[in-house]
Amino acid sequence: MVRESLKEVQQKTIFEEDQPIIRVENLTRIFGSGRNTVVAVNNVSFSIKKGEIVSIIGESGSGKTTLARLLLKLDYPTSGKIIFKGQDITFVKKRSELLKHWRQVQAVFQDPFSSFNDFFSVYRILNNTYKIQDRNVGEEERKKEIIEALEQVGLNPADILYKKIYELSGGQRQRLMIARILLIKPEILIADEPTSMIDASLRASILNLILDLRQRFKMTIIFITHDIGLAYYTSDRLLIMNKGRIVEEGNADEIILSPKDPYTKKLLEDVPVITKKWEL
């Protein structure tokens, strides 16, 4: 017992505010074997500070979603290290430890239509988040928190609390996803294409909700996206991925206004912007 708590104290002191909250070293994920190998993530290293908003930008097949899955511990790397708050969590496999990880690192996914069980009620979905939380909260208290979370994401609890998921629109489901995050309050939020299936008029509202999470909880946010406009609007820093490698990394303004890597330059040229017309 004594040794246990001593270990915990040591771990707490190792992690300090200005240290990276998550650090990745030479991370590699190879699928398949023999002639059919695909190196989805190839020797990737980066670190992210607490409260930072970072976008990992890549086209389809660049390995960005595989990288997100590795950070979420939904998949294991072939080699390399993931260090979260000073601790090496690369090969954590025990259920209890994984749950602890998911309490601290959560995700908002691309497709709001396949992220929930259609036949559950909104209340049940949100109540389920308490299964991974380590707080002891009574029934009454839970309901109060759930109602508060729904209000914060702009959903009317009176209307929606006992609705089934299949009755909700895409935008409402995506807001519900963020209400989950408000209840769990993870330290890191990984948003994998959170708005690619949402209309333009709603996109900005959803993004602003996510950005508020940093303001209020100092949450670290990682966007995984191919939408360069979104990445530029939201992020402090950008990582550009191509064929499993990070080809360019830096401050958002620097990369968008003066890209250095040829791949980044090509990518930016192909984005339809307003001020400069394409030569076709």
Partner: protein, 322 residues
């Protein structure tokens, strides 16, 4: 400049099983000129895909035509019989690339076999070798990779599949090509290649005009001549592409433009807001202006008076306040 298509006051409704009507397209008029690229922009559910299936004469129940007329170079399109449509119009006068067409290619046939199928159906006298010569010629003219003909769909990337679809649907030199969200599932690089291909078809006079449907307004700026913005089954503004992009007049077009996230320095300095509220249910759309419940400039009048088109330097705006 001659008009290839004139559509007047088109109304196309879906009938639900309990007899209600969904007014997906409700009084849309459009003219398409030769050598013109017309963009149609709008959010999901605004009726843009329904409009595409009406204009390409490919609609069937539960979608039906409530009213309106359409002229294809002097021919009254809605009076044509099924057989006339099949023989003279589809593929030859109008060709439609529906949304998600690239995922509906037959997975068990090579692209060249699909090309042979299409041409044999329309020109039974052509021999297989003539067809293949034509296909090769096309592939060369459009500088597509030659392997495209010998490939099965699963061997092609998304961008290549979309190019194969475009190749097949323009074989009969249709005068009008209607493309419904052809690039929305593609990466920016493939998107640009597909758009280059479409523009190339027009420049080589293989097709005479394009209607390009998308939800992404900034994309239209780069290759369209005119843009029509749709909201809840109606066109709210139509005009020259540059005017719509740089100087939108309708409150909805303005709001839509202001929500666009493009990687340009100015967006970093401002807070982009969404448009509050949701589009109306088209079973029972608002009486007056359909946008008034979400409009920041709306007044009491907007609730009751259906807006009439106002002409402004060659463009039409359906808003009393503009």
């Amino acid at each position: 400049m001659s008009e290839l298509l004139i559509a007047k006051d088109i109304k196309a409704y879906y009938k639900t099983f309990d007899g209600q009507e969904i007014k997906a397209v409700d009084g849309v008029s459009i003219t398409l000129n030769e050598n013109e690229v017309l963009g149609i922009a709008g959010e999901s559910g605004c009726g843009k895909s329904t409009l595409a299936s009406v204009l390409s004469l490919l609609f069937r129940p539960p979608l039906y035509l409530k009213g309106g007329e359409m002229w294809l170079g002097g021919v009254d399109a809605f009076k044509l019989t099924k057989e006339e449509l099949r023989k003279n119009i589809r593929g030859k006068y109008i060709s439609l690339i529906p949304q998600g067409a690239m995922n509906s290619l037959n997975p068990t046939r090579k692209v060249k076999q699909m090309i042979i199928d299409v041409l044999k159906e329309h020109n039974p006298n052509m021999t297989t070798s003539e067809i293949l010569d034509l296909a090769k010629e096309r592939v060369e003219a459009l500088s597509l990779p030659p392997r495209i003909l010998e490939s099965y769909p699963h061997q092609l990337s998304g961008g290549m599949k979309q190019r194969a679809v475009i190749l097949i649907s323009t074989l009969l030199n249709p005068k009008i090509l209607i493309a419904d969200e052809p690039t929305s599932a593609l990466d920016v690089s493939s998107q640009k290649i597909v758009i280059k291909l479409l523009v190339g078809l027009l420049e080589k006079s293989i097709i005479k005009s394009i209607i390009f449907i998308t939800h992404e307004l900034p994309l239209l700026r780069h290759f369209t001549d005119r843009i029509a913005v749709m909201y809840a089954g109606k066109i709210v503004e139509i005009g020259k592409a540059e005017d719509i992009i740089f100087n939108p007049l309708h409150p909805y077009t303005k709001a839509l433009m202001s929500t666009m996230l493009v990687p340009e320095p100015y967006i970093k300095k401002m807070k982009i807001e969404g448009i509050p509220g949701l589009p109306p249910n088209l079973k029972d759309p608002p009486k007056g202006c359909r946008f008034y419940p979400r409009c920041s400039q709306a007044t009491e009048d907007c609730k009751f008076d259906e807006p009439k088109p106002k002409e402004w330097d060659g463009r039409l705006v359906w808003c009393e306040k503009a």
